[in-house]
């Protein structure tokens, strides 16, 4: 689960990490209040809050340039915020449709001496926590890893021992800090590790971490990802979820325990199992079709879930055909067939429907579909099902 920059900065602040003073606003009234906190002529950074990187270099759909702007004083801040709020920002990390900006974050600008990169990440390959740091801050760390890997410091941290002073010292010296900065950095990294550990984060990233003109450390931007599997242990973090950042169909699906991802094509699929669902998308594509979604109904879907799945699929106006692919294991084919029949009666399906059933109780399932008289084409294999649906949709 991802959170916004302004939420991440509040967490950083709670864990004793210096951040610039900032104010978030979601309505024009809140914008006015936030701006009142700023000085009359102070330099201010106005930042659009969306769950995607590359905001500074992004473009709004109305042509306005940049989702992060440095401006002079209240008036300019107000004007810039009004251009951003409610506008749609497209960055290299968003889809071409972009993301609607529903929160603006104002922060006090500060003089930057140098920009660093600092992150703590749960590395899946090595199954351990790793501190990643670099003197090349302010840019995409993956680009730095590619162009100058020698400038990246990686320090693994034992899960059982945790972060120790020597880790802090090592990273501080590798980044070239001296004097009081080393103490400041040790405090900062200790706080960041605590934040990471206590909240089951997968990633906490400060980019850039800066030294100010006075040589003090400060977090200028932050990104955090928390483990969705552990979120039940952290209700406070769960409250930071922003449903505006998610596709409404995906939210609806998650409420029915379905795993759904909207895609750009016109052939919807309804499958049991994530691997088979991906493989079904792949075979649609190899037959010359375009999948409209990924949808895994899981191992034990009931009639209600199947109905919900059809409703979600059909709420996408791009859908011109549906492929149902079920390999019954635990899920019995007769149960899914009854679900499909019920859904067909509840939901008005006006597009071609191809159904491939295999596995447990397959004969009973096929009989139920046949007797119901619902309009659908049965298929005996996955290949046949994909060929039929693509032919029907493309004709």
């Amino acid at each position: 689960m991802n959170i916004h920059e302004y939420q991440a900065k509040r967490l950083l602040n709670e864990y004793g990490i210096p951040v610039p003073k900032g104010y978030a606003a979601q309505t024009s009234r809140e914008v006015t209040t936030a701006i009142a906190h700023l000085g009359e002529t102070q330099k201010v950074v106005v930042k659009a809050q969306i769950h995607a990187g590359g905001r500074g270099k992004g473009t709004f759909t109305d042509g306005f340039q940049g989702g992060v702007k440095l401006v002079d004083g209240r008036e300019a801040a107000l004007e810039t915020a009004n251009r951003m709020l409610g506008n749609t920002l497209v960055t290299k990390q968003t889809s071409p449709a972009g993301r609607k900006v529903q929160t603006i974050y104002f922060t006090e600008a500060c003089e930057i001496q140098h920009e660093y990169y600092l992150a703590i990440v749960l590395d899946r390959e090595s199954a351990q926590t790793v501190i990643i740091a670099s003197t090349e801050g302010g840019m995409d760390i993956e680009e730095v890893a590619e162009s100058s890997p020698e400038k990246i410091v990686r320090v693994p941290i034992s899960t059982t021992m945790g972060l120790r002073h020597h880790h802090c010292r090592r990273v501080a010296f590798e980044l070239g800090f001296s004097g009081d900065q080393i103490k400041q950095f040790a405090r900062l990294l200790t706080g960041l590790y605590k934040l990471y550990w206590e909240n089951n984060a997968m990633l906490v990233e400060i980019n850039p971490l800066i030294t100010t003109d006075r040589g003090d450390l400060m977090a200028l931007d932050a990104k955090m990802t928390f483990d969705g599997n552990a979120i039940f242990q952290h209700p406070r973090i769960q409250q930071l979820r922003d449903l505006n950042e998610e596709d409404p169909k995906e939210i609806e699906a998650s409420e029915h325990n379905l795993s759904y991802i909207a895609l750009d094509g016109n052939i919807a699929c309804l499958v049991n199992g994530a691997g088979l669902a991906m493989a079904t998308m792949d075979i649609i594509k190899s037959c010359g079709g375009e999948p409209a979604n990924f949808l895994d109904v899981g191992g034990g879907a009931n009639e209600d879930q199947v109905t919900a799945a059809f409703k979600i699929i059909l709420s996408d106006p791009k859908v011109e055909g549906i492929l149902v692919n079920i390999f019954g294991g635990i899920m019995k084919c007769d149960v899914i067939a009854r679900g499909i029949v019920a859904a067909a009666r509840n939901v008005d399906i006006q597009v071609p429907l191809v159904i491939r059933l295999e596995g447990t109780n397959v004969e009973a399932g096929k009989a139920i579909l046949k007797e119901s008289g619902i309009a659908c084409t049965p298929a005996d294999s996955l290949a046949q099902a994909a060929e039929i649906i693509t032919a029907q949709v493309n004709s």
């Binding site: 242990q233 199992g273 691997g275 088979l276 493989a279 079904t280 075979i283 649609i284």
Partner: protein, 294 residues
């Protein structure tokens, strides 16, 4: 004619009295799996379904009933602890079916498995389980699609594995053992581990590897295949049509923003290792049968 499980496997079910545990344990019993005990803390001394003794701890299940494999159906919040309990009981094989286990739990377990004194192999989590057809079924796969034979199958997916197995069975080819290693990014047994075991198993003549986008498990397996495996291997990767940066149902199935973990890179690695490639999920068995006559 198998790896890891056979007719001598003595299974303990962790979470046997729960709804999921009960349902699948009945199916496994019907298939002929020898379930010697169940574990549900606080229900020790009871008898499950009038046939299987319930213990309070894994230590007891191993000591009193000689269990040599365990399967876990407990909820995600407690699954990590159950795996660790099984490891401490020094049981040789643990299969964790449970999905959405917190990632940090899995990271800690992964490190624990590296300890020199660890006697346990973990399969999963988030997996369908393991079956040696005709001898022992542990997990949630439908038994009847399998047939005893000499093809080893390893996969990150559940139902996609059934698809491949069913293709083999329909074409008259049985399986030595089928292992679902699970769809999580941090798991107990890798594609390479499974392929090494199949390669060393005299009763396995050919291997099918089913992968997914994300991570580098298939690339690593291909390096191993290239260096060590003489048996015919066929493979498929699911997710060629998936968009970047999105997790496709399985937590491990994600092509990173930088483009690592694509299906194309994995197909390339398979090609380089001489693996027969199925570009299409309906051609997995045929890809193998193009290089293996059985």
């Amino acid at each position: 004619m198998s790896i890891l499980v056979n007719k001598d496997t003595r299974l303990v079910v962790q979470g046997i009295t729960g709804k999921t545990g009960t349902f699948h344990s009945k199916q496994c019993l019907e298939y002929g799996t020898n379930i010697v005990a169940g574990v549900t803390p606080g229900k020790g001394g009871q008898t499950w379904e009038d046939s299987v003794p319930v213990c309070n701890t894994m230590a007891e299940a191993v000591r009193e009933h000689g269990a040599n494999a365990s399967v876990i159906y407990v909820p995600p919040a407690f699954a990590g602890d159950s795996i660790l309990e099984a490891i401490e009981a020094e049981i040789p094989l643990v299969i964790c079916i449970t999905e959405v286990v917190p990632v940090r739990d899995m990271a800690e377990i992964r490190r624990r498995l590296y300890f020199k004194n660890t006697k346990t192999r973990l399969i999963g989590p988030n997996c369908p389980g393991i079956i040696t057809p005709g001898e022992c079924k542990i997990g949630i796969m439908p038994g009847y699609i399998h047939k005893p034979g000499r093809v080893g199958v390893v996969s990150r997916s559940g139902t996609l594995t059934y698809e491949a197995v069913w293709q083999l069975t329909q074409r008259g080819h049985g399986q030595s053992t089928c292992i679902g290693i699970g769809g999580d990014p941090i798991n107990g047994t890798s594609q390479t581990d499974a392929i090494r075991m199949f390669n060393e198993d005299p009763e396995t003549d050919a291997i099918i590897m089913i992968g997914e986008i994300g991570g580098s498990a298939e690339e690593e397996a291909c390096e191993y295949i290239k260096a060590h495996v003489k048996k015919p291997v066929a493979g498929f990767i699911a997710g060629a049509s998936a968009p970047k940066g999105r997790t496709m149902g399985h937590a491990g199935a994600i092509v990173s923003a930088s483009g690592a973990g694509t299906a194309e890179a994995k197909f390339d690695a398979m090609e380089d290792a001489g693996v027969a490639i199925a570009r299409n999920p309906s051609e997995i068995a045929d890809a193998l049968l193009s290089i293996y006559k059985g």
